[in-house]
Symmetry: C2
Subunit: 254 residues, 2 copies
Amino acid sequence: MIISIVNQKGGVGKTTTAVNLSKSLTLPLASKKVLLVDLDPQANATLHLTERVEPEKSISAVLMEKALLKDVVINVDGIDLVPSNISLSGVELEIFMKIGREYILKDALKDIKDEYDYILIDCPPSLGLISLNALAASDRIIVPMHLEKFDVDGLSDFLNTFERVKSKINNNLEIMGYLAVNYNKRLSVSKQIYESVLKPQLGDKMFKTVIRTDTKLKEAQAMCKTVYTYKNNSKCAADYIDLAKEITGGKYGK
Amino acid sequence: MIISIVNQKGGVGKTTTAVNLSKSLTLPLASKKVLLVDLDPQANATLHLTERVEPEKSISAVLMEKALLKDVVINVDGIDLVPSNISLSGVELEIFMKIGREYILKDALKDIKDEYDYILIDCPPSLGLISLNALAASDRIIVPMHLEKFDVDGLSDFLNTFERVKSKINNNLEIMGYLAVNYNKRLSVSKQIYESVLKPQLGDKMFKTVIRTDTKLKEAQAMCKTVYTYKNNSKCAADYIDLAKEITGGKYGK
Ligand SMILES: Nc1ncnc2c1ncn2[C@@H]1O[C@H](COP(=O)(O)OP(=O)(O)OP(=O)(O)O)[C@@H](O)[C@H]1O
Ligand SMILES: Nc1ncnc2c1ncn2[C@@H]1O[C@H](COP(=O)(O)OP(=O)(O)OP(=O)(O)O)[C@@H](O)[C@H]1O
Ligand SMILES: [Mg+2]
Ligand SMILES: [Mg+2]
C-alpha cells in the first residue's frame, strides 16, 4: 500500500509523521517492510535520519529518469529510504513539458513496489507537479494537521484539490484519515477546534490516535534519530505506535 | 521599501510576521503607510484579517493581468491588503510561458508603490515562480525561523537560492535579517540552537528582536484579528512593536 503524507499547509508534521510512522511500522510487533520516499526539496525526512546525499543519489535522479529507485535506496534505522536533495526544486520545471509528467513516480515505483508492505511518501508544503506525482502514485493519503485556525481554513480548499486529483489523475485515491498532530490539551483554542470543529466535521475520517505535543521529538530530530530510537517510552513514540496499530487494523501483532 | 517575508520551510511564522508586523508599523507611534500583499494560495494572511474573496478580487487577477492592484486593495484594521485566493495555485502554470514571467508582480506594484512607506509580501512555503515574483519585486527579505533542526538544515540551501536570485533576477535584493519566531527559552533545544548555532553563524544578520511563544497569538488568529488588536499588552504584540522599531531604525516616534 502506497500512502502520501500531504497537506499544503506548512509545518504541520508531515515529515515528523512520515519518519516516525515508518519506524513504528518496522518495529517487531508489526515487522512490516517499509519504504520511505522523501519528495521534499528541503530533504527534512532524509536529514531526520542521516546525512545529506548528492543529487545523483537522490529522488531527483529517479524523476529525471537518470537512475532507478533501487539504485538510490539506503537503509537507516531499519527503514529503507529514498533520500532527497535540494536539486529536487529544479526538477519540477524540468519535467513540466514531459508526456505523462504526473506519472513519473508511479512508473518508477512499479518495479520495487511488491517488495514492501507500506510505501510512505513525505510531500512538500505545496500542490505542484512533485506532489501530484505522489498523489498519482498513491492508494491512500494521510493529512496531518495542527489544531489551529489556518488548518481549518485550508480544509475546504484541500478537499476540492483532492476531488480534482481523484477524478483526473487517480480515481483509486482515498483519504485514509486526518491526523491531529502536536496536540496540547491545555491550549483552549486547540481543544475547541478538535472537539467542536474537526470531530463533528470529519467524523470517522479523523484518526482516533492523536499525536500529543512532546519536546522529546525536537530533541530526537536534533540528534538525527526517530523519536522511538531516541526515547522509546516517550509520549510521541507511544502515539506513533498507536497510529501504526490503527493503520494496520490491529494486525499489529501481540 | 518592499520587503518579502520568505522561507521555503513551512510553518515558521511567515504569515504571522507579515500580518502582525504590518499592524505594528501602522500604529500611531510609527504611523507608516503599509500595504500587505498575500502571495500564498492558502490565503492565510487574508483569512488572518478578513473573509475569503473571489478570485477576480484577488492577487490572482493581478498576476493574470486581468485587474490592477489598486482595484483589489481592501483596508482592514488600518492595513491595506491585497487579498489572495486558492486560484493562485493555478496561476503558476498559467504564467509559466509568459515573457518576463518573474517580473509580473514588480510591474503591477509600479503604479502604487510610491503611496506606501512599506510593502510587505507574505510568501508561500516554496521557491517556485510565485515566490520568485516576490523576490524580483523586493528590496529586502525577512526570513522567519523556528529554532529547530530543520531550520538550521535549510539555511545553506536558502542562501544558495538567494545568491542565484540576486545575480540573475534582482541584484539590489538584500537580506534584512533572520527572525527567531515562537521562541520558548524553557526548551533546551531551542535555546541551544539560538545561542550556539544561529547567533554565531548569522551574527548581526539575526534581528535582535525575538518573537516569543505566545498562546494569545493563536487566540487572535482564531478571532480573525491581529495580536495587537486582540490583546495589545500581550508578549507577541510587544515583540512585533520592538521589531517595527528595529526595522524603522528607532524612527519609531516617541
Ligand atoms: N508532536 C509534536 N510535538 C512537538 N513538536 C512537534 C510535533 N510534531 C511536529 N513538531 C514540530 O513541528 C515542526 C514542524 O514539523 P514538520 O517539519 O514535520 O512539519 P512539515 O509539515 O513536514 O513541514 P513542511 O511543511 O516544511 O514540510 C518540527 O520542527 C517539529 O519538531
Ligand atoms: N510567536 C508565536 N507563538 C505561538 N504560536 C506561533 C507563534 N508564531 C507562529 N505561531 C503559530 O505557528 C503556526 C505557523 O505560523 P504561520 O502560519 O504564520 O507560518 P507560515 O510560515 O506562514 O506557514 P506556511 O509555510 O504554511 O505559510 C501558526 O498556527 C501560528 O499560530
Ligand atoms: Mg516536511
Ligand atoms: Mg503562511
